[in-house]
Amino acid sequence: MEVVLAIIIGVLYAAGIYMILRRSLVKLILGIIILGNGANLLIFLLGRITKGSPPIIPGDSNVFLSAYADPVPQALILTAIVISFGLQSFAIILIKRAYQVVKTDDLDEMNEIDQDS
């Protein structure tokens, strides 16, 4: 399971960075989304995967009796997903607006700010 996840994470990072390097705005956003998903899976993997043992202490005990899944990475991923959802929805609106105003989705043609003013 770990190996499969590690490979998937590697593919997601590579694909995300490849897409960010493209000139099209839409591919840029897709790249950012894929990269964000890769980061979330990485947190999940590095929090050590434990199967079928929720971190709940039995009522008749004060401590954990067996190995348990670490709940912290899941909280981190949840936070990161919510944040990236907000940022991505902003980004999609931004590129839509930028496309309407600049009338191109080619990043190389967005060079008005480089000109001397």
């Binding site: 947190i43 929090g47 940022l87």
Partner: protein, 507 residues
Amino acid sequence: MTQQLVIYPLLLQLFLSIILMFSWKKISWQRVISIVGGFVNIAVSIWLFSYIWENGTQTVQAGNWPAPFGITFVADTFSATLVLLTAISGLVVSSFSSASIVVARLKFGYFPIFHFLLLGLNGAFLTGDIFNLYVWFEIILISSFVLITLGGEKAQLEGAVKYFTLNILGSTIFLTAIAVLYGLTGSLNMADLSLKVALIENRGLVDITAVLFLIGFGIKAAVFPLYFWLPDSYHTPPSAVSAIFGGLLTKVGVYAMLRVFTLIFVADEFLINTILIIAFLTLITGGLGALVQNNLRKVFSYLIICHIGYMIAGLGLYTEVAIAGAIFYLIHDIVIKTNLFMISGLIYRIKGTNSIRSMGGLYADSPKISFLIAIALFSLVGIPPLSGFWPKISLLSASFSAENWWIVGGILFASFITLIIIAKIWANVFWKDKVELPKRLNFRYFHKLTTVKKSQMIGPIVFLTLVSLYIGFGAEQIQQVSSRVADELLNNQQYIDAVLNNNQNLN
């Protein structure tokens, strides 16, 4: 009352944003609330600073979960100083923006978002938890996206696309670094991490994590070679927005670097060399970039990059004198960069253009304003005894005693370039004969504004120039603060004790 003092600056900004959202349509109310709130914020920050100065590092454990399990808020001298500087910049920028930004832009929630930005900044300075730091970074990021695009001009949207892409990339790399660090140590509390990272045997992996943090923060702090988003975006929004961005946003990256590389990753030779090379190249490329620009605000944007190099160099030299110099420079830089962008906004309102070539004759037209601006510009260059001079002395003496001639050369070169640029600006904008510009219709020129508006624009510049003068002439006190911060950063046992030993008090 003082037990929760650490989080008062956060609560105040959150409270202000909520109040401001309730008066969404009433811009005149928002202006008053924002400025009054700014004064209250300064009072709270001074209270926090003086309390920390007398009683040492203070902590608040969120929800009373003992560290390292809950989120900790920590205020040491470094955090308290930066919270105070944020409050000062926040107040002057809210006054300046209420006069200089047109109502059509203010209508779409400028002030609430501005206070969310300040909330994020305060949070980033006060948190003692690395994932919480990421969350505050995101709050800063999303607020700054809104502020940079507010108005929706073509240049703004183009700049925003670049700003947005690289900053999100930076955040993702930061998140990756947190993931790897959590995998290595199983902790997120920075004080706890400091103890646990020191015990890891696989130093190669620790170095890789450190480099990931360096890249993530480097994008935020705009160091070489990760700075290209900054000069492409900082000149596009209204100058009040550039002022708060230029003054504080890049400095959050520098703060995070100083914190992480003194507390969590104790610098080894590899890290120190990397940081020093980055610092040298930032000093050189930022300076050379500023030299060729014609847009006044682009010149200042490149100067931000150039001067980030000083602080990174201070971190890279890693002695107490050098870090004290970096802290002193940070204090000076926040004040002076906020002031510079407000000055560029004032010149834009007077002249109606940002192009240095088309300006001229400002000294003949308004000698008093020119004199005021001259003081700020000379402070930037660091003509003794003004404020930029003292930290450079510390940095130079530290790099001399480290016998690092590259950094000595870089610091001298960057100071020299800054001097040339300021001389060029002075000659072109102030002394050159007036260039006749076409009058822009519907443009709110400075002389058309009411007296109240004029004073709301000039007042902040006067105030920040006075603060700069104080930093220059009261350098001894600032040096005391910086030395104490440097001492706390390098001898981090006190920070760790303050965070982790709270457990005993609770039990």
